[in-house]
């Protein structure tokens, strides 16, 4: 069946099937095992409001193709933003040179595969909406933050939307496409009182249309949340330093799982044996309450996709089940070399990049504890509430930066504290997860993950968690 979407590469890229096959075959001329064309057309809109005015708007277009050749564990890659047959063929010749045997492979007959599911059936993508409507949204967020309190001295609101059309064509004969909308609106608020200044941040979005800002998260809430965080921090004191019990608030604390677990289960690090987890599949690495998943199929989420950037249908993947290491995130190259099934986690930033295993929406599943009981169980400790982000090394050492939190004293949240870095080694901390709450939440739909210089939209989630001891880096 040839619906309009089957011809997406003709609509946006103006290339014939015959040309595509010629390019795939050219890429295999030196004996590569596999060749793949990635076509991308992306439009992007941006609005910035600060100092009470709509300061600027922007529009951008990104158009290009990347061609990859696999020869054993070697990858050759070329790309061009000029979609003439001549330039694409030249990129194919460049990529082909990675292979050095005389075996002559050719591409199979191309066959279109439509996506089994659409995880973001947006009626009207935001990029087609009137710019005036988006400006109204931005102004609402701005005013809401500004009007929260007279101590709010500065507000900055950014809105962006994009739509990305991609088509993957490979020498196995696969042709498949995805159309991915993405929206994000964020607010930064700065509060000032007696010469102390603090910043608060909030936002939302996802693979949604503008109706999200009516039905899911109102612009007023975004503005007020950012302002309240800044006001809250004005009252906060420097956080304590040292080792102590830590309770993680539900939602964005998922960043801990993203750093401590997710990255080190990306199959390239396992295959290269650089990850501390490389020899631990099937072994216990966490306390038994811990269940961790990566799921690219959660409807409308920022980290979701109908196919990964290699054309593979994505699967919800269990990483840790009842404390046992049970899975990893695969792209085509690692899955082939490790003789493991594909999971649909081969992602790339854009046409200039080689796909690598990446996370999508990563979360620790809900447990059975009442979040109030978790806080009550701590005599003296640290409650981590909001975050700036985190980072991990293959050795398992990771940090995450807390922008605001509370002290826990005698089972109650007491003094607000600010700016602390938590540090630990992953298996150690995973084993110290003592209690898992039943209140699974996801963090703000604004997160971006960086790996090897490539940015990818992601989301993290987590219920209230108690870690029996962790190093908190504060100033006191």
């Amino acid at each position: 069946m040839k619906t309009k979407s089957t011809l997406a590469f003709k609509d946006h890229f103006n290339i014939s099937e015959e040309e595509l096959r010629k390019i795939l075959n050219t890429a295999l001329l030196k004996g590569g095992d596999f060749s793949e064309i990635f076509l991308e057309y992306k439009t992007f809109n941006f609005i910035n409001m600060e100092e009470d005015i709509i300061k600027e708007t922007a529009e951008s277009i990104s158009l290009g193709m990347g061609i990859r050749v696999l020869a054993g564990d070697r990858t050759g890659y070329g790309y061009t933003n000029d979609l003439s047959f001549f330039k694409m063929k030249k990129a194919a010749i460049t990529a082909s040179s990675i292979a050095q045997n005389n075996q002559l492979n050719t591409s199979n007959v191309l066959k279109f595969r439509s996506q089994a599911q659409n995880y973001y059936p947006v009626k009207k993508p935001a990029h087609n909406e009137d710019l005036k409507k988006k400006i109204e949204l931005v102004k609402k967020v701005y005013l809401s933050a500004q009007n929260t309190d007279s101590a709010i001295k500065k507000v900055k609101v950014s809105y962006m939307d994009q739509i990305q059309y991609i088509t993957v064509i490979n020498s196995d004969g696969l042709v498949t496409s995805d159309v991915r909308p993405l929206v994000k609106c964020t607010c930064l608020a700065i509060a000032e009182k007696s010469n102390i200044r603090e910043a608060g941040f909030s936002g939302g979005g996802g693979r949604v249309g503008l109706e999200y800002f009516q039905s899911q998260l109102s612009p007023e809430t975004i503005g007020e949340d950012a302002a309240q965080e800044a006001l809250h921090l004005l009252k906060a004191s420097p956080s304590p330093a040292g080792e102590m019990p830590v309770v993680l608030a539900p939602g964005h604390s998922g960043v801990l799982i993203h750093e401590a677990v997710g990255h080190l289960l990306e199959a390239d690090f396992i295959r290269k044996k650089t990850s501390i987890f490389w020899d631990k599949l099937g072994k216990n690495v966490a306390s038994p309450q811990v269940n961790i998943y990566d799921d690219p199929t959660i409807p409308y989420f920022r980290g979701s996709y109908n196919m990964d950037d290699e054309g593979t249908a994505p699967k919800k993947t269990a990483l840790i089940q009842q404390g046992k290491l049970s899975g990893m995130l695969q792209d085509r190259l690692s899955a082939t070399l490790m003789k493991k099934p594909l999971t649909g986690h081969g992602r790339r930033q854009d046409f200039t990049c080689i796909p690598i295993p990446r996370m999508s929406n990563t979360y620790i599943d809900k447990g059975s504890e009442d979040p109030e009981d978790i806080i009550k169980s701590v005599e003296k400790g640290f409650y981590a509430h909001k975050y700036q982000g985190g980072q991990v090394e293959d050795s398992g050492k990771f940090t995450f930066s807390v922008s605001s939190g509370f002290l826990i004293e005698k089972g109650k949240l007491t003094r607000p504290v600010k700016q602390a870095t938590l540090i630990g080694t992953n298996i150690d901390i995973l084993n110290k997860i003592e209690m898992v709450g039943f209140d699974l939440k996801f963090g703000l739909q604004t997160g971006t993950c960086g790996k090897e210089g490539q940015a990818a939209p992601v989301c993290d989630g987590c219920p209230t968690l108690k870690i029996s001891a962790m190093t908190v880096g504060g100033q006191k």
Binding site: F46, I53, I54, K55, E56, T57, A58, E59, S60, I61, S62, L63, G64, D73, R74, T75, G76, Y77, G78, Y79, T80, N81, D82, A91, T94, S97, I98, L131, K154, L188, I196, R197, A199, A241, G242, E243, K272, T274, I354, Q388, G389, G390, Q391, V392, E393, D394, S395, K397, S401, Q419, A420, T421, I423, G424, I427, T471, V472, G473, G474, Q475
Partner: protein
């Protein structure tokens, strides 16, 4: 030669688009064109893992109409698309609010000539792929000869050639070419569950200025192995020595606090400190876009303003914020030739070196930490607060006694600038933001 022909082709494209914008109602228009070609090879365990070779180009612009601004960018350089984007932008500008500070700078003469700035290494044209691959192979091979190195993240060689063209409706139309080379390797040492890792590499505009495979491998091996068998330490306040790479990291944070954009936005704790003492008299910080051959050197910035040497902090006194035209107008200051994209970026931004050697600084330390690496986020320009995961070496009686891991370091940039006790003589421009070894009187280290 290909680049010459293309250079005039893109200069013409930019000039024509300026004319098209003016004809269609833009009061002002500014076009930047970028053309780049890259070669990169990743080696791991003696084999080529990735080989990328490609060229691409892109165009970005802004239009101003009735003091309202719109931006756009495209990698589709067909006339049809570009004309549509310019018309869209002129129409879209209407929806923004008038901003008396918006607009292009007046035309200024560029005095420095491109060749004396040493931005372009003609060797890039004759350097063969085989040789680049061999350099990366050799670097990793030498590193792996040390049997305490147990795994490799791989080595990489990269070369890039970039052409930048800028044309605007004030009559500016110029361009320049640059080259970049880099070679580095990442390593792991230790057993499976007690691994340590680090990376070393160099970047330069000239191929001949790259560190050799031997030197790169040796430094990467040393940096990795010196972390083996770390100990945990107690939470305490102690003196901290920053290695040059760490000083550069601190200066990057300082830059974000003195950039005119964060100053007029009041997102910097230094925004009302111009002319005031913000550090002790040992501290002098400079931004210099004119240093020949350095990574942050350019003849003009993203708005066509000639780059210059600006004293940012002089003996502890905050002398200048770094500005593009917009930030300068907002702050009633002069632009310093630091426009980068729509914002402000560093040229060569550095802390002036002292006289003492790094070894003398270590020898003079009774008890404290040498900070070697940090991970994570935790820099807040609004307050100056610093909080990061850290790795280091523990010093007693002037000697390194053992490595330290799983600690965090925290403090405040304002305090740090006032408590720098020593500044080393080892300034090297390994990146556009650079500093020598420094010693801070006291910071908080959180451990057990």
């Amino acid at each position: 030669m290909k680049s010459r022909k293309d250079s005039s082709r893109f200069q013409t494209l930019a000039e024509n688009l300026v004319a098209f914008g003016q004809k269609n109602g833009a009061d002002e228009i500014e076009i930047s064109v970028y053309e780049g070609s890259e070669f990169s090879v990743d080696i791991r365990l003696g084999k080529v893992e990735n080989l990328v070779e490609a060229g691409s180009n892109g165009l970005s612009f802004r239009v101003i109409k009735d003091q309202k601004t719109a931006f756009a960018a495209s990698s589709d350089l067909t006339e049809k698309t570009l004309h549509r984007l310019v018309k869209n932008a002129i129409e879209r500008a209407e929806l923004a609010n008038p901003d008396e500070f918006a607009g292009l700078p007046e035309l200024k003469e560029i005095e420095s000539d491109e060749s004396s700035m040493k931005l372009y290494d003609p060797d890039i044209l004759s350097l063969e792929s085989r040789k680049k691959i061999d350099l990366a192979l050799e670097t990793e091979r030498i590193a792996l000869q040390d049997d305490r190195i147990t795994n490799s993240h791989g080595s990489s060689f990269e070369s890039r050639e970039v052409q930048t063209i800028l044309a605007n409706s004030k009559g500016f139309s110029q361009g320049y070419k640059e080259t970049f080379f880099s070679l580095g390797v990442g390593l792991q040492g230790g057993d499976t569950d007690e691994k340590v890792e680090d990376y070393w590499g160099s970047s330069a505009r000239f191929f001949s200025e790259l560190e050799s495979p031997e030197e790169t491998a040796r430094k990467a091996v040393d940096r990795t192995l010196r972390q083996l068998n770390p100990k945990k330490i107690k939470t305490q306040n102690i003196p901290v020595i920053f290695e040059p790479k760490m000083t550069s990291w601190l200066l990057g944070f300082l830059f974000s606090c003195i950039s005119g954009t964060s100053v007029y936005q009041k997102t910097s704790f230094l925004s009302d400190k111009l002319g005031k003492k913000i550090g002790n008299e040992k501290i002098s910080v400079v931004d210099d876009g004119l240093l020949p051959g350095k990574l942050g050197t350019h003849p003009f910035d993203a708005e066509g303003i000639p780059t210059q040497k600006t004293r940012v902090i002089d003996k502890g006194v905050l002398k200048n914020f770094l500005c593009n035209t917009y930030a300068a107008r907002k702050l009633k200051l002069k632009t310093t030739g630091n426009a980068e994209g729509n914002s402000v970026g560093p040229n060569n931004f550095y802390l002036e070196p002292g006289r003492i050697t790094p070894q003398e600084i270590i020898t003079s330390l009774d008890r404290g930490l040498i900070l070697t690496r940090t991970i994570g986020h935790g820099l807040n320009p609004v307050t100056g607060d610093i909080s990061r995961g850290a790795f280091g070496l523990w010093v007693e009686n002037g000697e390194i006694v053992h490595p330290v891991s799983e600690i965090t370091i925290s403090g405040n940039l304002g305090t740090v600038l006032n408590t720098v006790e020593e500044i080393g003589n080892d300034l090297e421009f390994r990146s556009a933001v650079a500093g020598p070894t420094i010693k801070i009187a006291e910071m908080t280290i959180a451990g057990t």
